[in-house]
C-alpha cells in the first residue's frame, strides 16, 4: 500500500490519530481562522497562535460541484468522462470557526443544514513519488450529534 501524503502539511496534518486542520486562534479575542494567518480579522490584533481545530461539527451551507474544475489549480480528476460530482460545504466547528471543505456525500437528498459531520480524507491524485495525495473532507457523522 502506498503512503498517504497531505496536499499541504501547513494546513492539513496527518497525525497518528487521524487528520487535523491547522488554524489560528487570537489570544486577544479568542477568534479562530482557518488556515493559520498572522493577524485577527475580528479585533485587528496580531497576538495569535497556531491551533489544531476540532474534527466534529455541523453542516452550515452546501452545494454539489457538478463539473470538473480547471487544472491548474485542481489536482483531482478533470476528465469529464471520469469526473464524479462532489459536495462542498461549510462545517461549523463549535466554539471555533466554519471551515470550507469537500464533503464525501454528493447526493442532495442526503445533505441537510445542521447535520453532524466528521473530518476525514479524500484522495486527489498520485504525487511525483507515487504516494496517494489526500485532502480534507467532512462526512456525515457516524457518532451522532456533534
Amino acid at each position: 500500500m502506498n503512503a498517504q501524503v497531505s496536499i499541504n502539511e501547513s494546513v492539513l496534518e496527518l497525525t497518528s490519530d487521524g487528520p487535523r486542520l491547522k488554524g489560528m486562534r487570537c489570544k486577544n479575542c479568542g477568534n479562530h481562522v482557518f488556515p493559520y494567518q498572522g493577524g485577527c480579522p475580528k479585533c485587528t490584533g496580531s497576538d495569535v497562535e497556531p491551533v489544531l481545530l476540532g474534527t466534529h461539527g455541523t453542516l452550515w451551507a452546501w452545494t454539489i460541484q457538478g463539473f470538473p474544475p480547471k487544472a491548474p489549480p485542481y489536482l483531482g480528476e478533470t476528465d469529464p468522462d471520469k469526473f464524479k460530482p462532489y459536495g462542498v460545504g461549510y462545517v461549523e466547528l463549535p466554539g471555533e470557526v466554519k471551515v470550507e471543505a469537500r464533503l464525501t456525500e454528493s447526493d442532495p437528498t442526503r445533505l441537510k443544514i445542521g447535520m453532524a459531520m466528521d473530518l476525514t480524507l479524500v484522495p486527489l491524485c498520485k504525487d511525483d513519488d507515487g504516494n496517494d495525495m489526500v485532502t480534507f473532507a467532512f462526512s456525515p457523522s457516524t457518532k451522532g450529534d456533534a
Binding site: I7, N8, E9, S10, V11, L12, G23, N31, H32, V33, F34, P35, Y36, Q37, P41, K42, W60, A61, W62, T63, I64, Q65, G66, F67, P69, K70, P72, P73, Y74, L75, G76, Y86, V88, G89, Y90, E92, G95, E96, V97, K98, V99, E100, A101, R102, P108, I113, L124, T135, F136
Partner: protein, 381 residues
C-alpha cells in the same frame, strides 16, 4: 443637485469576439463615448481604466492618441469598473479636472473563472482540493438562503428566463435568444441548486463613460444624467463571502448592505425613490438575494414579486433591463460600467424596445464580487 454628470456613453458589444483584443474593445468603447459626447480624445483631461485579464488599461493611449493625459489603472476584483467610476466621480468632485472618462474592458478564457491562490507555504491546497470556485459560493449561499426564506427553484428559473427575454431586446447583449423556465430548469446542474442557464459566463466587452462637471454638462449633451452617488465597500467581519476558506461563527450583513445604505445616504433618497435597478446577477440566486440586500424588498418577498412579474420591464420595479450578467456575460472590468450604461440609456429614454415605461427618473446599479466587495451608483435625470 449633483456636481457630476455623465455626458457620453460608449460600449463595445459583449460576447465572444475572435481576433479582437480586450483592449481594442475598450478603445472602441472610448471612441463611441467620445462621439456620443461630441468631444475628441484630446479633450479628455483624465482617465481611470480597469481590466482584470486583458492588459494594463493605460497602454491603450497608444491606440487612442498620446495626448499626455493623467491615466490611472484600477484593479478591484468584480468592482473594477465601479471603482474606475468612483475614482472619476471623485476627481471631478475634488475640482482637479472638469472632463474625464471611466473605462472598463476585459476578455476571459471560456468556462468558470480559474482561481489560483498562493498558500503561505507549499502547494495551492485551496484550488488543488477542488474548492476556490466562485460558482460554489453562489450555490452554497442561495441554497441556504432558499431554505431560510422559502424561495423556490422556480424563482431562480424565472430570473434567468427574464434575463434572456430582456437580452433578446438588447443588440449589445451576448445571449439574445429567449429561453423558457423549463429549458433553464432542465439544463445541466452545475452547482446545486443552480443549473447552467442560471449562471452567467465570463466573457468579453468594453464600456466607457465620459463625466463632466454638472454645470458644464450642457456643453456636451442635451440629456445629462447626474451621478447622485458612487460608493464602493469591502466586507466587514462576519459576512459570508466568495472564496473564503473559513467564515467566522458570527453571521452578519455583507458589503452590499453597507454600500447600498451609504449610496442612499449620499443621494438623500431611499429605495422607494428608485424607478429601476441593475443588480449583480452572477447567477439567478444573486439577483434574488441582492433585491433584498439592496433594500428593495424584505427577505422572502422575492418569491411573490417574481411570480407576479414585478421585476419585468413593464412591472412595478424593473430589474436588469438589459439582460444583466446572465444575458451579457461578465467581462469583469466592464461589467459594472455596463450597468451604468444601461441606466443612462433608460433615463435618456433611448432604450428602444426594452425602454422602461412612464419616464423613469432615478436608477440604481449594484455590483458584487470577489473577494467580498460591492459597488453601488445612483443616477438621476
Amino acid at each position: 443637485m449633483s456636481e457630476v454628470a455623465i455626458v457620453g456613453i460608449g460600449m463595445h458589444e459583449f460576447g465572444r469576439h475572435e481576433g479582437v483584443s480586450g483592449m481594442e474593445q475598450g478603445a472602441i468603447a472610448v471612441r463611441r463615448a467620445c462621439a456620443d459626447a461630441g468631444v475628441e480624445w484630446k479633450d479628455i483631461q483624465f482617465a481611470f481604466g480597469g481590466s482584470s485579464a486583458a492588459g494594463a488599461p493605460d497602454t491603450m493611449v497608444s491606440q487612442l492618441g498620446l495626448t499626455g493625459l493623467q491615466f490611472i489603472n484600477v484593479q478591484n476584483g468584480c468592482a473594477t469598473g465601479g471603482s474606475a467610476l468612483f475614482s472619476a466621480y471623485n476627481t471631478i468632485m475634488s475640482g482637479a479636472y472638469d472632463l474625464g472618462i471611466a473605462i472598463g474592458f476585459d476578455k476571459h478564457e471560456r468556462g468558470a473563472f480559474r482561481v489560483e491562490t498562493k498558500a503561505r507555504e507549499g502547494r495551492d491546497w485551496y484550488g488543488g482540493s477542488g474548492m476556490a470556485l466562485t460558482t460554489q459560493f453562489f450555490g452554497m449561499k442561495i441554497n441556504r438562503y432558499m431554505q431560510e426564506n422559502n424561495i423556490s427553484q422556480r424563482s431562480l428559473a424565472r430570473v434567468a428566463a427574464k434575463a434572456m427575454r430582456n437580452g433578446s431586446m438588447n443588440p449589445m447583449a451576448w445571449r439574445r435568444k429567449a429561453l423558457t423556465e423549463e429549458e433553464v430548469l432542465q439544463s445541466q446542474m452545475l452547482s446545486y441548486p443552480l443549473t447552467q442557464y442560471m449562471f452567467c459566463s465570463p466573457g468579453e466587452g468594453g464600456v466607457a463613460l465620459i463625466l463632466a462637471r454638472a454645470d458644464q454638462a450642457h456643453k456636451y449633451t442635451k440629456n445629462p444624467i447626474y451621478l447622485q452617488s458612487a460608493v464602493v465597500r469591502s466586507r466587514r467581519f462576519g459576512s459570508f463571502e466568495v472564496l473564503a476558506p473559513s467564515l467566522s461563527l458570527e453571521y452578519g450583513e455583507g458589503p452590499t448592505v453597507d454600500a447600498s445604505k451609504a449610496a442612499f445616504e449620499q443621494a438623500g433618497i431611499g429605495p422607494k425613490d428608485i424607478d429601476l435597478a441593475q443588480l449583480q446577477d452572477t447567477e439567478s440566486g444573486a439577483e434574488v438575494m441582492h433585491m433584498a440586500e439592496n433594500g428593495f424588498c424584505e427577505h422572502g418577498e422575492q418569491e411573490s414579486m417574481l411570480e407576479k412579474g414585478e421585476t419585468e420591464i413593464g412591472g412595478r420595479f424593473p430589474v436588469n433591463t438589459d439582460g444583466g450578467c446572465l444575458a451579457n456575460g461578465e467581462p469583469v472590468g466592464a461589467s459594472g460600467l455596463r450597468q451604468v450604461y444601461e441606466n443612462v440609456l433608460q433615463l435618456r429614454g433611448d432604450a428602444g424596445p426594452r425602454q422602461v415605461p412612464n419616464d423613469p427618473k432615478v436608477a440604481y446599479t449594484h455590483v458584487y464580487g470577489a473577494p467580498g466587495i460591492s459597488g453601488v451608483t445612483i443616477l438621476s435625470r
